[in-house]
Symmetry: C2
Subunit: 106 residues, 2 copies
C-alpha cells in the first residue's frame, strides 16, 4: 500500500472501518468500481486501504468535507452502500474528520 | 477487529499508515507494549488496527488532541518512535484529525 500523497492540512479524512460477512458475493467487483469512481470525484485526494481477513480500514482523503459528502450521494455509490448493509458488511463505522496536522518520515 | 466504541463527536483520531521493513526485529513485542501503554493514557478512547503483510493502518481515538499529543511525548514511546524510524518502518505518515461526525449501522 503506497501512502497517499496529501497536500498541506487542513483536508478531510473519511475513516471507514468494517468487518465483512463471509464470501465475496460481488464485493470485489463493486469495490474496484467504487474506487475508480471515487478517484474521479471532484476534491478526491487519495486512498489508503488495508484488509486482513474480514477486517478492513479504508481512509479516503478529500480537499474538504463537501467533496466527501457529495461522493456519498452519487447514485451508484448509494446502491453500493445499501448492498453493503444488506449483504457485505457485518459491522462498519464511518468517521468524517478534519486533518489539522500531519507528519512523516524524518 | 472490533470497531472502537467511541463517544459522540467531536473527538480526535490519529491515523497512522505505514509500510514495514521485512523481519520482526522486536517489533511485535514493542507493539504490544505500546498498545497496552496507550490504552492506559488519559483521554484514550480506543484503537482500530489492520495489517496486511508489510502494510498497516492503525487509528487511535482520543478525547481531544492534547491527549493524543501527550502520548507522543511519553519517554518509552519516544524510544519506540525513534526505533521505528531506524529499524521497523520503511515509510509512515501520521495524521491528526478531529472527527466531526460519524455514523454506522442502520
Amino acid at each position: 500500500m503506497p501512502i497517499a500523497e496529501t497536500p498541506e492540512p487542513p483536508y478531510t479524512a473519511v475513516i471507514f472501518t468494517s468487518t465483512r460477512t463471509p464470501g465475496d458475493n460481488g464485493y470485489t467487483q463493486m469495490l474496484q468500481r467504487m474506487e475508480t469512481m471515487a478517484a474521479a470525484q471532484p476534491g478526491y485526494l487519495g486512498i489508503e486501504t488495508v484488509k486482513d481477513g474480514l477486517a478492513g480500514i479504508t481512509v479516503t482523503y478529500w480537499r474538504a468535507e463537501p467533496a466527501a459528502a457529495a461522493w456519498t450521494q452519487v447514485a451508484e455509490h448509494l446502491v453500493a452502500q445499501q448492498r453493503g448493509q444488506q449483504v457485505w458488511y457485518d459491522d462498519y463505522r464511518v468517521r468524517v474528520a478534519t486533518v489539522g496536522r500531519d507528519y512523516g518520515w524524518g
